[in-house]
């Protein structure tokens, strides 16, 4: 699971079987199962309890797992279309926030007076609950995908810019001296030392942002959209279509999980084992 980077670089894996002399080199899923069977069990138990409870309640309060599955399969709901809209808002807003957030943090690290002026301002703006700005964004950008991307962006932007700024600030000054001796350009200092060194911070900002991203898009869809999973939930509320709401919730979660998973995956690829340990 976590001892990735060195094996990935083509080095012989450490002999992990030393502690268990009787175990044959086992297929990957066996060791996965050994590590995660409790987690799998708890998820199954929840589904079990849910179906038990659903037998005693009306469908519009608590549909059974089967009802939900049927709603998922029913083409009438047009799930792929709703999901594509929500996913593009979430991923678009997140990607935009990552690019803009890191760039602004770099600008802060280059010009101290910009940082002195803008950082407190950003902190103040960050105090505004972002979802409360959604109606305003809709006034500005009208209905559709635009305002929802903007809401997701504002939610994701702050953790990324704040963490990246901190990461760039905490680069060991001697490491910068090391390349300054060679008259490295500002761009070289950034790409060779500052950014790689701040990478663990950037990723921790992105992880926080990934968790929040979905909420932004969905709230936007609640109030101003005719498409997307958030819109779907609102419309099923008026028809008491609880199974549909369950499916929409599950798909929203799925979008969030995929985004979070991709961030973790990128972190595994780009951040070496050591810097993760010493963070």
């Amino acid at each position: 699971m976590t001892f990735s980077s060195h094996q990935a670089k083509g080095k012989p894996p450490v002999d992990l079987a030393v502690d268990e002399p009787d175990s044959q080199p086992s297929p990957a899923w066996t060791s996965w199962w050994r590590a995660h069977w409790l987690a799998v069990l708890s998820h199954l138990a929840m589904v079990g309890l849910w179906s038990l409870a659903s037998t005693r309640m009306p469908k519009f309060i608590l549909p059974s797992p089967l009802d939900v599955l049927l709603a998922l399969m029913n083409p009438r709901y047009n799930w792929p279309r709703h999901m594509a809209v929500t996913a593009s808002e979430v991923f678009g807003g997140f990607a935009l926030a990552s690019i803009v957030g890191v760039s602004i943090a770099v600008i802060f690290s280059w010009w101290l007076f910009v940082s002195r002026a803008m950082m407190p301002l950003l902190v103040t703006i960050n105090m505004i609950p972002k979802v409360a700005m959604a109606p305003l964004f809709i006034v500005w950008l009208s209905y559709g995908i635009g305002p929802n991307i903007l809401i997701t962006f504002t939610i994701c932007f702050f953790p990324i810019v704040i963490n990246t700024t901190r990461g760039l600030k905490e680069v060991e000054p001697d490491l910068i001296d090391l390349v300054r001796v060679l008259r490295a350009s500002r761009g070289q200092i950034l790409t060779k030392v500052q950014l790689p060194s701040a990478l663990p911070f950037i990723f921790s900002g992105m992880r926080v942002a990934a968790v929040l991203a979905v909420a932004g898009a969905v709230v936007g869809e609640f109030i101003g959209s005719e498409r997307g999973l958030g819109y779907a939930i609102m419309s099923f509320q008026s028809t008491m279509d609880t199974p549909g709401m369950f499916v929409a919730l599950a798909l929203i979660t799925l979008v969030g999980v995929v985004l979070y998973g991709l961030v973790i995956l990128a972190e595994r690829c780009f951040v070496t084992a050591d810097s993760r340990a010493s963070k």
């Binding site: 490491l175 001296d177 300054r180 060679l182 490295a184 070289q188 990478l199 050591d274 340990a277």
Partner: protein, 265 residues
């Protein structure tokens, strides 16, 4: 810093490094704090000069002034001479007091860093990096990450890095501080050989008097804070030097002299 602005050469050969009444103070919590005061000495091209002096006396500060990482307040610092021009971007190799390896780069990629920044041909530099790593006893560790190496090994990698772009001047700040006694002796012999073969000018800060004597052609003794010049001690020991020389009477005489200058006898 003035860099070899070919001033009219006097009749004698100009020194490669010229320091005259160099002075530097830090401001800490509103107070001026004199770190280096009136340091004056010359270094000829190809010399090996050791800087010794008590801890906190400003040796690292002096090296950083030479590397143009810090600015001095007054005095003159000049590197290079008409017959030995000096390009500040590619003629300094620096070994810091800590290894300062980039943890996300393998050892060989760390050694390659100066070559990348200066835009040197990658293929040749890689060959050279391998040779340098072998020279400091790290053959076979090229593709490891810094955290997989001991402190002493990391420091040796940082020495290889200082040589990769073939600079004329090498500034070393207690490079062997993290090494065990045996490796240290071995590195002393090796560094002395490299210096004699390469003809580089080396400034070397150390706390070990015997290391200073063994390695150098001249020792600069600095007093306690602020670093003022106590004395220059030229060393003339027969070449090639071996570890056994450290037990010679001649060697002990030098040692006694340096201890006296440091006020330790």
């Amino acid at each position: 810093m003035n860099v070899a602005e070919a001033s009219p050469a006097p009749d004698s050969v100009q020194p490669f490094i010229h320091l005259d009444k160099v002075r530097k103070s830090y401001k800490a919590r509103g107070e001026e704090f004199l770190a280096v005061s009136d340091v004056t000495f010359d270094v000829a091209a190809g010399e090996f000069v050791a800087l010794v002096g008590p801890s906190g006396c400003g040796k690292s500060t002096l090296l950083k002034i030479l590397a143009d990482l810090h600015h001095h307040d007054s005095g003159e610092v000049r590197i290079g001479s008409p017959d030995n021009p000096f390009d500040p971007s590619r003629d300094i190799g620096m070994v810091f007091q800590q290894a300062l390896l980039l943890r996300w780069r393998t050892i060989i990629d760390n050694v390659m860093l100066p070559a990348e920044i200066l835009g040197l041909p990658i293929k040749q530099s890689r060959e050279r990096a391998r040779d340098l790593l072998a020279m400091v006893g790290l053959a076979g560790f090229e593709d490891r990450y810094p955290h997989e190496l001991s402190g002493g090994m990391q420091q040796r990698a940082s020495i290889a890095r200082a040589f990769i772009h073939d600079p004329k001047l090498i500034l070393m700040d207690e490079p062997f501080g993290a090494l065990d006694a045996l490796t240290r002796e071995r590195m002393n012999v090796e560094l002395h050989r490299i210096w004699r073969e390469s003809g580089k000018t080396i400034l070397f800060v150390t706390h070990s008097i015997s290391e200073a004597i063994f390695l150098s052609s001249q020792i600069v003794v600095l007093t306690a804070r602020p670093a003022r010049m106590a004395a220059l001690v030229p060393i003339s020991l027969p070449e090639p030097r071996t570890v056994a020389d450290k037990t010679n009477a001649e060697f002990s005489n030098y040692a006694r002299k340096v201890y006296e200058l440091l006020g330790m006898t």
